[in-house]
């Protein structure tokens, strides 16, 4: 078997809240898992069990205090937990895509331009980015009359589809998906499932969180329950831990 695209080795994370007398919120501990090319591993477990935190650590969005997160970059392997910011940015350009539930973009920029820009950042030529942006938006059922409008005024589901288009326009070998279908209707969920499966069959490694059982069943090659990794919360910290995770 070839080397996995991403390996979590005994990963642990807690938040220290300095503004709250420095209390420590353990989020996850001893998390170990791996995802290979052509696999889609879905993280299972209750809300607040640290699933999102794992994805954020893999993307370098959260710091990883314990353990290692090894991402394969061609012949090289980069430990995201120890990498320099520049190395992480380089991975984000070429190797790893992250799609969250929330769209965060410069206000007043048109939807198609937002998606296109993500393609160009991911190394596509301007023309190719333009074509692919249009293809993706069309496939995701976003009416063409909306393409020149900034997504800020769109519904939650529309924004989420813009976000998916942005995350998928550049074809990177590792995809991190944090509930990308959370506010989509059944028809749009089906399109997203199709897109995810296409990527996987083309050889991408996918690590995701999907709330809907139907989506999970349709995309997962493995399910990993993070409850087993979960740090033991001190009594009374459960609710705060949920908010932070």
């Amino acid at each position: 078997m070839t080397q996995p695209m991403i390996v979590f080795e005994d990963v642990g994370k807690s938040f220290i809240l300095h503004l709250r007398e420095g209390i420590t919120l353990p989020v996850i501990a001893h998390a170990s898992l791996s995802v290979g090319a052509g696999e889609c591993v879905v993280l299972g477990g209750a809300s607040g069990s640290g699933k999102s935190s794992l994805l954020k650590m893999a993307y370098g969005n959260y710091r990883c205090a314990q353990g290692a997160i090894r991402v394969r970059d061609g012949e090289r392997v980069v430990d995201v937990a120890r990498a320099e910011p520049r190395e992480i940015l380089d991975l984000r350009r070429r190797v790893v895509s992250y799609v969250s539930q929330f769209l965060r973009v410069i206000p007043r920029v048109g939807t198609r331009a937002v998606v296109e820009a993500a393609g160009i950042e991911g190394g596509l030529a301007t023309e190719a980015a333009r074509t692919r942006a249009a293809d993706l938006l069309a496939r995701l059922g976003l009416p063409e009359r909306l393409w020149d409008l900034p997504p800020a005024t769109f519904s939650g589901g529309e924004q989420q589809r813009v976000n998916i288009a942005r995350g998928l326009i550049a074809e990177r070998p590792l995809l991190l998906l944090d509930e990308p279908t959370a506010s989509l209707d059944a028809q749009n969920r089906a399109v997203v499932v199709e897109l995810i499966n296409e990527r996987r069959k083309a050889g991408a490694a996918i690590l995701g969180i999907f709330h809907d059982a139907d989506v999970r069943d349709a995309v997962a090659t493995h399910v990993v329950d993070v409850a087993g990794f979960r740090a033991k919360f001190a009594a009374g910290h459960g609710a705060a831990g949920e908010a932070a995770a």
């Binding site: 938040f15 220290i16 809240l17 300095h18 503004l19 954020k56 370098g60 969005n61 959260y62 710091r63 320099e84 910011p85 520049r86 190395e87 992480i88 940015l89 380089d90 965060r104 410069i106 206000p107 007043r108 920029v109 820009a117 160009i120 950042e121």
Partner: protein, 258 residues
């Protein structure tokens, strides 16, 4: 990944009387990288920019820069003429107050053309064509080319400053609060222009801002300053989403969400 940085600051220190405005600040800046320096008033972020630009004399530390010919030079050791040449060609400086970055009595076209003439351009038609091209790139209408910036709105003045600075194809641009003082509706478009140009031209940018949202949208890395010291540094989204230092946690949690 192992390429030498474009700019390296080491141990930069500046005292004003007993007060340390900048206390041993260092960082590397690589080509194509946008580094935001954030902090509140009095944090030392503007002093730092002045030290980098050579407008403020440092009491300690050094700034080195990889010149176009590949040699790395300590900026303190450049002669006055060399230093001016560097500022006019390979560096840009977009200031918060456009009146400091522009010549207010000279036409928009003249403001852009002047930088080109500074690097030896003499052909009037070519200079005017380059000015027109740059005005278009920052979305200033061609028919405003003969108007002086005194007749421009705040947002247009900032756009003109950007055109003036970028016309000589610099590799490093310093920005001091480029969007503050503008109406928010104008800010967003300016941010989009800056982000597009920075990505397209592969510029290295050192941007000072008190606005964490601006830092998030424009920068790759962030340096949080307080009392002249670097409190925390790292990937922009990591520092803003998972701040480690108590002060950064306070800053991030104090931002009003609209």
């Amino acid at each position: 990944m192992s390429q030498a940085p474009l700019l390296r600051a080491e141990g930069l220190t500046k005292r004003y009387g007993a007060r340390l405005a900048c206390d041993g600040v260092g960082f590397d800046l690589h080509p194509g990288e946008v580094l935001a320096v954030v902090g509140e008033s009095g944090s030392g972020k503007s002093t730092l920019l002045g030290l980098i630009a050579g407008e403020t004399a440092a009491d300690g530390g050094s700034v080195s820069y990889r010149m176009r010919d590949g040699t790395v030079r300590d900026l303190a050791e450049l002669g006055a003429a060399e230093r001016r040449a560097l500022m006019r060609t390979d560096w840009g400086f977009v200031r918060q107050d456009a009146a400091q970055g522009l010549r207010m009595s000279v036409s928009a076209g003249g403001n852009v053309g002047e930088r080109l003439m500074g690097v030896g351009a003499r052909h009037y038609a070519e200079i005017r064509a380059a000015a027109l091209d740059w005005l278009a790139r920052v979305e200033i209408a061609a028919d405003r080319i003969d108007d002086p910036p005194t007749r421009f709105s705040g947002g247009m003045r900032q756009r003109l400053q950007i055109a003036r600075n970028l016309v000589t194809a610099p590799r490093l641009v310093l920005m001091d609060e480029p969007t503050s003082g503008l109406d928010v509706s104008v800010q967003a478009r300016l941010l989009d222009t800056i982000r597009g140009l920075v990505a397209e031209l592969g510029l290295a940018v050192l941007i000072v801002t008190h606005d964490l949202a601006v830092a998030r949208l424009l920068s790759h890395r962030i340096l949080v300053m307080r009392g002249g010291r670097v409190i925390e540094t790292g990937l922009t989204d990591q520092v803003l989403d998972d701040p480690q230092a108590a002060y950064t946690q306070l800053l991030v949690s104090s931002v009003l969400a609209a």
